[in-house]
């Protein structure tokens, strides 16, 4: 760009200089004339007469000062711009198609860039790994505090290690304008490890990371801006968090992101109590990261860690040993996890859409080239070299590409907004649109590449002398390029349609999966109470709220729990920790995790959760006092008591005592819609408060009300009731149906995206076919005239045209089906209970395509049928 400007600038400067030189020459000669006795005007006229043509001299002299290629390129560019302006309908069509293709590609690239390409923003990101053990409880690498401390420094593969506490913790800013914040806890070595330096203030000191040290905090950039207006004097400020004073020591840079990709407001030192880690029961779980020494691979690190694990496991229960493994993954793999395959599919699909769009534009350009053959031949005859003409064509394509790309960028911002509103960041891994330099470069490359892709074909096709012969105006080889392009577009759109069909079928299958709960007339709320709520206050809170909710006429039942089924962040214990008194413990591994919920007695009634055996919790359980009650899910009952009646049996939880099984509940799809139903069990929160209120989810409250009242009313009423008791707590209120819809979100997202792709490609293919058929009809006007003159009926002529369109469609469909059978295998990871070569989907798709093909041919065929043989035969 800079060079072009310089050349432009130089051009005017050079012109001025040469002009001045010529003036100076003329003045000198005129001076000579004056000396010879001429008058001033005579002398000037004489000087000019003596001089040659100044304009010509200027032109001749100037050429030595310009870069000839750029000069030519500028000329080509002006020429191309004129061409585009001269035919606005054509230019707008092409730009629209390109903007659509490039815009969609850029939007999808922005979404998948983080998952597929963008290196994590850390120093030596390619050597940073997440390491630790994986277990059925947690498939993402973690370590117990003891192992972390003990292994540290014993691993030759690692140059450095660091750790943080897993999960987001809520913390409350307890001062004027209280707020619920997200806090993260990290080791003091954490920021230096990732190569991050606070923008103001300092990192945590090692002393501040000792347990019981005075509390200090680092603010996230965003929180600093919004809460403290980005003022530097926050450093050293004492704030009150969860009613304890905390000193702010620094602010993190704007671009800093946690390796977990979770947003956060405040970073604390994790203050790991190192002495306590030796006792397994007090041990902390940590997310652990390491920087590999140069030359080490993750696989080698696994091999180096395994002996340490085996030694530590020597004393562990047999059950653990079998299912615990070492895991070392690069930070990017760790972050993107299972989103990678789907991201690749999306990116390739959208690039295929762009390729089809380019083909469409290429066939439009070819069609225009045909109509411009006369002009091109004339220019060639007047001396334009073939390479010059080819350059013109390429310049025009590149210009179109760049303009299309610019429009595409604007469009992609719009598309991204839509994508973000349909999909939460759990799918996109993206909370806000950051249209980075990378995206811009990608879009620019895409624009230029597509300009070349669709520009090369027309450029290669140069006019030849034969074109002056009108009867051979389109040689067969030229037409066949267009035919091939149209067939390819039809084939491509069939693939996209098939993919969209498979996605829609998956979505449909998922939405018809029985969840185990009845979602109608159910409104739910979940929230987390502040740390000020101890067990007593929590129980009092729930009781008060329950009374208030029940008193509303029209509410048929109210349920309390810690999470909302299905799913929810439940507490869980390993299966082997469930013992049946008098029987041998389960020893074939951990046996998977069993989630459980602490619920109120109306839970089952409210969710319409069937109880095939036994009964729900009731007051009689409370009166017995001796053993609290427990309800098992059907699959857990089947696992614990195969072939037996479960009600009346007793189950011991390893650390929480013995329970009486009073009922068996239907299975609920806890593992999402795609996975199998987990076994689970329920405890009564009123009977076993000491268990129910233990652990990390203890302050989570889930409320569900069943009522025939209007959902909108219930939602706002429920929110108001909760806020009446606890004004500052953020409450997530949603009808159960909305919540369930979120279950199929990734699939819905994929279905929407592929439907969009399919619609675009189908539109392109149909318009391409339409253009081609119309062109064929125009070319065969005389033939049609002859046929009609010889007695062909209009219907026969129309059928002739439709048949030719059908030939293209069927050829394209055959090609598409063949490719779809091969390509759809890649979609398998995104499908659910739908075979990737689903014959029904392919059949429907092909039928749609054929219908569209016939529709595209309809207008040209009617036009052909209306041909007046006399006019047709007289033309030319």
């Amino acid at each position: 760009m800079k060079r072009v400007w310089r050349t432009l600038f130089r051009r005017s400067r050079v012109n001025a200089e040469i002009a001045e030189e010529i003036q100076s020459h003329l003045a000198m000669r005129a001076h000579l004339g004056r000396q010879a006795g001429l008058s001033a005007s005579e002398a000037q006229a004489w000087a000019r007469r003596q001089f040659g043509n100044p304009a010509l001299i200027l032109e001749d002299a100037r050429q030595f000062h310009l870069v000839p290629f750029l000069e030519g390129a500028l000329q080509d560019l002006r020429h191309a711009a004129r061409q585009l302006i001269r035919n606005p309908a054509f230019s707008i069509t092409v730009l629209f198609i390109l903007a659509l293709g490039i815009g969609a590609s850029t939007a999808v690239f922005t979404v998948v860039d983080g998952v597929l390409f963008r290196p994590a923003p850390y120093a030596d990101a390619d050597r940073i790994v997440a390491y630790g053990i994986t277990a059925p409880i947690e498939t993402r690498e973690f370590l117990f505090g003891f192992d972390y401390l003990y292994w540290r420094g014993k691993i030759p593969a690692f140059e450095a290690v660091t750790s943080m506490l897993p999960g987001d913790q809520d913390c409350d800013l307890t001062e004027t304008n209280p707020a619920r914040l997200t806090c993260a806890y990290v080791e003091s070595s954490y920021l230096p490890f990732f190569g991050v330096r606070p923008v103001i203030g300092r990192n945590f000191a090692r002393d501040e990371d000792r347990s019981q040290a005075p509390r200090v905090a680092l603010l996230s950039y965003n929180f600093w801006r919004t809460r403290y207006g980005g003022k530097a004097r926050v450093i050293g400020l004492l704030i009150s968090l969860d009613d304890t004073p905390v000193r702010i020591v620094g602010v993190l840079p704007k671009e800093f992101e946690m390796p977990t990709l979770r947003p956060f407001d405040i970073l604390f030192p994790q203050q790991l109590n190192e002495a306590a880690q030796v006792f397994p029961n007090n041990g902390t779980t940590l997310r652990t990261f390491a920087r590999l020494r140069p030359g080490w691979t993750p696989a080698q690190a696994v091999a180096a860690l395994d002996p340490l694990l085996q030694r530590d496991l020597a004393g562990a229960p047999m059950a653990y040993r079998k299912e615990i493994h070492i895991g070392v993954r690069t930070i990017r793999d760790w972050q993107s996890g299972d989103r990678r395959p789907a991201s690749w599919v999306l990116l390739l699909a959208v690039l295929a859409v762009l390729l089809l769009a380019c083909m469409n534009v290429a066939s439009l350009l070819l069609a225009r080239a045909t109509s411009r053959q006369g002009e091109l031949a004339m220019r060639q005859a007047l001396g334009a070299s073939r390479s010059r003409l080819a350059r013109h064509a390429i310049t025009e394509s590149l210009l179109l590409g760049i303009m299309g790309g610019t429009l595409g960028c604007a469009l992609s911002l719009f598309l991204l907004k839509i994508l973000l509103s349909t999909a939460p960041n759990t799918i996109l891994g993206l909370t806000e649109i950051h249209f980075s330099m990378r995206t811009f470069i990608f879009a620019a490359l895409l624009s230029l590449t597509s300009g070349l892709v669709f520009g090369v074909l027309p450029a290669l096709r140069q006019p030849t002398v034969e074109i002056f012969n009108r009867w051979r105006a389109t040689s067969r080889s030229k037409a066949s390029i267009r035919d091939a392009l149209v067939i390819l577009q039809i084939g491509g759109s069939l693939i996209m349609l098939t993919a969209a069909g498979l996605m829609l079928r998956t979505l449909w299958k998922l939405e018809s999966v029985p969840l185990g709960v009845d979602a109608e007339h159910l409104v739910t709320a979940q929230f987390t109470l502040g740390s000020a709520y101890n067990a007593t206050r929590l129980i009092a809170f729930s009781q008060t709220l329950e009374q208030r909710l029940r008193s509303q006429p029209g509410v048929s039942s109210v349920a309390f729990g810690d999470t909302i089924p299905p799913g929810g962040p439940t507490r869980s214990i390993p299966f082997f920790a469930l013992r049946v008194p008098g029987r041998a413990p389960f020893e074939q591994g951990v046996g998977g995790m069993v989630p459980w919920r602490a619920v109120s007695s109306d839970y089952f009634r409210t969710f319409h959760l069937r109880l095939p055996q036994g009964r729900a919790f009731d007051a009689s359980d409370l009166s017995t006092h001796s053993t609290p009650a427990m309800i098992l899910s059907q699959s857990l009952a089947g696992k614990l008591f195969p072939g037996e009646h479960s009600v009346g049996q007793r189950v011991t939880l390893s650390d929480s005592g013995t329970f009486n099984v009073v009922g068996v509940a239907a299975d609920v799809r806890n593992n999402g819609l795609v996975g199998a139903a987990y076994p689970e069990f329920y405890l009564d929160r009123d009977q076993s408060p000491e268990i129910s209120l233990r652990g990390i989810t203890s302050r989570h409250v889930a409320v569900a009300i069943r009522s025939d009242l209007r959902t909108q009313f219930l939602e706002s009423w429920l929110r108001d009731e909760i806020h009446a008791l606890e004004p500052s707590v953020p409450v997530d209120v949603m009808s159960m149906q909305d919540r369930i819809r979120d279950f199929a979100l990734p699939q819905r997202f994929h279905a929407i995206l592929f439907s969009l792709f399919a619609a675009i490609t189908l539109l392109l293919a149909v318009s391409g076919l339409y253009g081609l058929v119309r062109f064929l009809v125009a070319r065969r006007t005389q033939e049609i005239g002859v046929r009609m003159a010889l007695g062909a009926s209009p219907a026969g002529i129309a059928a002739l045209v439709v048949r030719s369109a059908l030939r293209f469609t069927l050829a394209g469909a055959a090609l598409g089906i063949a490719s779809a059978l091969v390509v759809s295998r890649w979609l398998e990871s995104m499908l659910y209970q739908t075979p990737s070569r689903d014959p029904l989907t392919i059949a429907i798709t092909a039928a749609i395509l054929v219908c569209c093909g016939i529709a595209a041919a309809l207008a040209p065929s009617l036009a052909a049928a209306r041909t007046d043989p006399m006019t047709a035969l007289r033309s030319d």
Binding site: E17, I18, E20, E21, I22, S24, H25, A27, M28, R29, H31, Q50, F51, G52, N53, L56, I57, D60, A61, R62, F64, H65
Partner: protein
């Protein structure tokens, strides 16, 4: 740039370079000098002179700069560069052989 086949056409370059070897001069001066010294036998057209000067400038055989002449006019004067001097030597010796060659061809018929 200096191909031997250019030699015949390079006569103007040679004249310009030779003129500038004496002293830096402007386009008008160069033309006058050639005309005067050749006693009117050679007259350089401006249409050839200026393109030739600018070509020599691009090839860095001459350097141009603006000066103020004694009667207060701005003029673009050209000065021979080091490589220009070399080029002049080559062109001169070339010219010798070319003119001998041409003379022989003319006499032969």
């Amino acid at each position: 740039m200096a191909r031997s086949s250019d030699t015949l056409l390079g006569a103007l370059d040679l004249l310009i370079l030779k003129t500038l070897a004496r002293a830096p001069n402007h386009g008008f001066g160069i033309a006058q000098h050639i005309q005067t010294v050749s006693e009117g036998l050679l007259r350089v057209e401006e249409g050839s002179l200026y393109p030739a000067l600018h070509r020599l400038e691009r090839d860095k055989f001459v350097k141009a700069s603006w000066i103020q002449t004694e009667n207060g006019r701005r003029a673009r004067i050209y000065k021979l560069t080091g490589s220009g001097r070399q080029r002049l030597e080559e062109a001169e010796s070339n010219w010798d052989s070319v003119s001998k060659g041409v003379t022989r061809v003319l006499r032969f018929v």
